[in-house]
């Protein structure tokens, strides 16, 4: 950044201007088939244009047939986000020309969406934030284009792949209730977590199954009106959203400080440049000419259907975290960590049910197990050791049969390979040396062999004790309990 006096930092801009941020999230639904045809909704990895049929290719004469599971998943999501489900809704055609849109219109929902008026509550820096959710509606995804250059208009040639065209896509429109990039990021984290929890979306930002566009404008603190908003696209990580919003706040703030006006436009985040660039200005603003989709009858959702979907909702992350705190005495921090992924929370509950103390279960899962899962790209549930193996390992530690460092080594060794920890400990004689007489004999031997260290310690050098503890551990091949050994040494040397 240059340092002319006219250039303000993010903090300076935010002192003068209040960002107003609203997010639009698109989530692909984990249905088996596409929204309006029988093709697979799982299109990743198929050869280009192979996962298609006359319907999703938009050939003349074809008709859409609604995927009922997609409707159910959308209603499930809407309920998890505290939305109302109107009895009557319908699909509409959103008209525009683009090569990734085979029919020249997208079947979406305009004025009668599947759900309305929800909200999501979360905490950022100890402050509770409540973000309204305008609506959750259902539509179809487009195909994908590949072209040279940043935007189609400048590309020399482009290729179209329609494998993704027609995949069920849920749009979650948030109210402009967010005020900082951190709030925006946390909103997305929580939203993604909920969708993954309820099994409707896989939450993959990189592959674009969970996508976010942001609308952002600035206004004077205390103003209630809204400034000119800019739409930011192409952010495919939480970090990108955070950075793009920070960039926009500074960019818009500087322009406003200079007395300039903000252009209403769509800008794309370019990760490599760390900047947003203008993609489409107002002259290109679309008139989508929405009108009711005549090929699909209006949708009527009975109260019984909605009740059934509601009853089938799993425990949501927040409820689960609260319950773990209540039932197992976990701290809010541990509970939040353990519930970030539903599988972790499941593993925790399974360990506890198998007799592992809650605190130990939490520590192991969030520490060593999380590290190994990350490094080996293998979740505990899919590892060789599995939940049962981990439970048995942790119980060996808790019973004092092995010490912590042995347990860590065993975990590392058995995580992928699998095996019964108790059997391995027995076979290799890894059991902790807990025979008091045996330990005393070893301690005495180490004292006798290390007169210098003894003298140092007795002369006041605390660290010298560690050398003696190390000697005992070495003699037991690490199977002694270091705390017990330390106690014994102090006792002996104090005499």
């Amino acid at each position: 950044m240059t340092s002319t006096s006219a250039v303000s930092t993010l903090d300076q801009v935010m002192e003068r201007w209040e960002p107003v941020i609203g997010l639009e999230v698109h989530g692909q639904l984990l249905t088996r088939s596409k929204m309006f045809c029988g093709c697979s909704a799982d299109y990743i990895g198929s050869p280009p244009n192979s996962n298609t049929c006359p319907v999703c290719l938009g050939l003349p004469g074809v008709l859409p047939v609604m995927n009922r599971v997609a409707v159910e998943y959308t209603v499930r999501s809407a309920l998890a986000l505290n939305c109302e489900i109107p009895e009557h809704s319908k699909f509409d055609r959103k008209n525009y020309f683009y090569p990734d849109l085979p029919k020249g219109y997208q079947i979406s929902q305009w004025d009668m969406p599947l759900s309305l008026n929800g909200h999501l509550t979360f905490t950022v820096d100890g402050e509770e934030v409540r973000c309204g959710i305008t609506r959750v509606h259902l539509e179809e995804d487009t195909g994908t284009l590949q072209h040279a250059g940043d935007i189609l208009q400048q590309a020399r040639s482009s290729v179209v792949d329609l494998n993704r065209a027609g995949v069920p896509l849920m749009e979650i429109v948030g109210e402009p209730d967010l005020r900082t990039p951190a709030q925006a990021r946390e909103y997305l984290v929580r939203l993604r977590q909920i969708l993954v929890y309820i099994g409707v979306n896989d939450g993959n930002l990189e592959q674009g199954s969970f996508r976010c566009d942001a609308n952002i404008s600035l206004r004077k603190h205390g103003d209630t009106g809204l400034g000119v908003k800019v739409e930011v696209k192409n952010m495919n990580s939480f970090r990108a959203v955070h950075r793009a919003l920070e960039f926009e706040i500074v960019r818009q703030g500087r322009l406003l400080d200079q007395g300039q006006t903000i252009a209403q436009e769509t800008r794309g985040w370019v990760e490599a440049k760390g900047a947003t660039i203008s993609q489409r200005s107002k002259e290109y603003a679309h008139d989508y000419r929405y009108f009711p989709e005549p090929d699909l009858p209006p949708l009527r959702l009975s109260a019984e259907f909605v009740d059934r979907v509601r009853a089938g909702l799993p425990e949501l992350p927040q409820q689960l975290a609260e319950r773990l705190q209540r039932e197992h005495g976990l701290s809010a921090y541990d509970a939040a960590n353990l519930t970030a992924e539903r599988e972790d929370a499941r593993a925790f509950e399974a360990l506890v049910a198998a007799g592992v103390p809650a605190k130990a279960a939490a520590n192991w899962l969030m520490g060593e197990v999380a590290r190994l899962a990350r490094e080996t790209h293998t979740p505990l549930q899919g590892s060789g050791l599995g939940l049962e193996g981990l439970a048995s390992l942790v119980k060996l530690v808790e019973a004092g049969s092995i010490n912590g460092s042995t347990a860590k080594e065993l975990l590392e060794e058995l995580y992928l390979a699998g095996g019964d920890p108790a059997a391995v400990v027995r076979e290799r004689g890894l059991g902790q040396v807990s025979d008091q007489a045996e330990l005393e004999r070893l301690v005495d031997a180490v004292i006798a062999e290390n007169p210098a260290a003894v003298a140092d310690f007795q002369g006041g050098k605390e660290q010298a004790l560690q050398r003696l503890v190390g000697g005992v551990m070495k003699a037991t091949s690490g199977r002694a309990d270091a705390r017990v050994v330390t106690g014994l040494l102090r006792e002996r040397l104090a005499r």
């Binding site: 050939l59 004469g61 008709l63 020309f97 219109y105 008139d287 009858p297």
Partner: protein, 490 residues
């Protein structure tokens, strides 16, 4: 002598006097002999041969189980998709488009053993009332080749009128089956909206389009309808209700039925010859025991403008897929926008462009409420008026068209052309079944009687039409110059 009906041909097939292949060859020959009328765009030879073979096997295996359409040749309009056969919707933009799938209606006919022979000419994307909007040239009316056959299903009407095939398929969005049936002197039936699947029909206006048959008799129309009708999981707008067994109902007669005559349909604007023929037909129905009741449909006047908002609005979206990216015409230009503009500019004819622009305008932000929303309200009103009328009558009877077939080039301004459909359009807006059957001649040209029924009252419509047909001889009239009429033996 008049050409044979589906029923007559079927009887001969079952007696072993002829074969599907022989009938197919005769039909092809007859179609070729009327090529100067230009009703056929292409022949389906490979499919014809396969299907004739299939029909022959079906007849050999079980002559009783083979349905009435088994082995019967037919032609279909160039907007219906059949796997492996070019379908161009009468448009340059789809020239060379070969669908990789077969639509439901034709699939059901194929399964019943019917044998396709040819694809018929029509107005481009079914938009027109004279067949003059076809990108491949107009069609002549077999009764007078200098006159139009009506539209948009002009080719399908002409081939049945000339006696070349016993039946053909058309589509009706605002009268595109009934009006050409009227102009060509054959039966043309538009079923209730949602009774025949639209899957495989290249859409003009999705909420109005319906597939139906042209035949030489009402009984034949019932056969074709029965084979095609019924719920289709591929078309969510098809009715899930079972189809009434039509065959047992058509021959019941009209004695005791109450038939409504809409005052607004008999108003000024009717050609005197048309009025006279229709009045005579009404008298005949009365003689057959029906009670005639005058009814009023006051919103009729608004139907035309309502239609010309809704149909273009839907077509503006339906035709957006014709963009040169995946199929059909592609005019390569440097930029994407220019490629779109040139492809569509060169590919669509003037009437199609006019309707796309009308529809785009009607849906535009700021105009939607004044046009599209308003039109939907009037549409509801029109449907409700019909509902009220059907509380007191079993069916409505009226002219199909206020005029008879007009000379080619006679209606060069769009509005006068649009007015041809003033008596058929309300039926599409309300989604009702309607048929046109021959009921006389005016200036030596056929006049059509329209029978309209309540929603899903397809059998009722056919029943009234059949009673009239059974009592009169108009359906047996042949065009003066047709090959059959001039004595070509079959």
């Amino acid at each position: 002598m008049s050409p044979e009906t589906v029923g007559g041909l079927g009887a001969r097939l079952r007696r072993g006097e002829t074969t599907p292949a022989e009938l197919a060859a005769q039909a092809r020959g007859a179609l070729q002999s009327i090529e100067d009328l230009h009703p056929v765009l292409r022949y389906t030879d490979a499919l014809t041969e396969r299907q004739a073979g299939r029909a022959a096997r079906m007849l050999a295996e079980s002559p009783e189980r083979a349905g009435p359409l088994c082995g019967i040749p037919f032609a279909y309009k160039d907007v219906l998709c059949v796997e492996g056969v070019e379908t161009s919707a009468g448009s340059r933009i789809l020239e060379g488009f070969i669908p990789p799938y077969t639509g439901t209606a034709i699939q059901r006919l194929l399964d019943a053993g019917a044998v396709p022979i040819a694809v018929t000419n029509c107005d481009e994307f079914a938009m027109g009332s004279s067949n003059e909007n076809s990108a491949f040239g107009p069609v002549g009316n077999p009764w007078d080749p200098s006159r139009v056959p009506g539209g948009s299903s002009g080719g399908s009407a002409a081939v049945v009128s000339a006696g070349a095939v016993p039946f053909s398929l058309g589509t009706d969005t605002g009268g595109s089956i009934r009006q050409p049936a009227s102009f060509c002197g054959v039966a043309g039936f538009k079923p209730t909206y949602g009774r025949v699947s639209r899957y495989g029909l290249i859409a003009f206006a999705s909420s109005l389009d319906q597939i139906g048959p042209f035949t030489r008799s009402v009984e034949d129309a019932a056969h074709v309808f029965t084979a095609m009708a019924g719920h289709d999981p591929r078309d969510s707008t098809t009715s899930p209700l079972p189809v009434e067994p039509v065959a047992t109902q058509v021959a019941r007669g009209v004695a005791g039925m109450r038939l409504g005559v809409p005052r607004e349909y008999m108003a000024e604007g009717l050609e005197p010859g048309v009025r006279a023929a229709v009045l005579a037909a009404l008298a005949e129905l009365e003689k057959l025991g029906a009670t005639l009741v005058e009814v009023s449909l006051p919103s009729t006047e608004a139907a035309l403008s309502t239609y010309y908002i809704i149909a273009p609005a839907e077509c503006s979206a339906n035709l957006a897929r014709m963009d040169g990216v995946r199929f059909g015409l592609h005019v390569d230009r440097k930029s994407l926008t220019d490629t779109y503009l040139e492809t569509r500019g060169q590919g669509f004819g003037p009437e199609v462009k006019r309707r796309i622009m009308l529809g785009t305008y009607a849906l535009s932000s700021g105009y939607y409420d004044a046009y599209y929303r308003q039109a939907q309200k009037v549409r509801t009103l029109i449907a409700e008026e019909f509902d009220r009328a059907f509380e007191s009558v079993d069916a409505l009877v009226c002219p199909t068209s206020p005029i008879v077939a007009f000379p080619k080039g006679d209606k060069s301004d769009p509005l006068s052309m649009y007015l041809c459909d003033v008596l058929t359009i309300p039926v599409n807006l309300a989604g009702l079944p309607g048929i046109s059957i021959p009921c006389g001649l005016s200036q030596g040209l056929p006049v059509g009687l329209q029978v309209i029924g309540p929603r899903l009252g397809d059998a009722q419509v056919l029943r009234v039409a059949h009673a009239y047909e059974a009592a009169t001889a108009w359906h047996a009239q042949m065009p003066p110059s047709s090959p059959t009429a001039t004595g070509t033996p079959s």
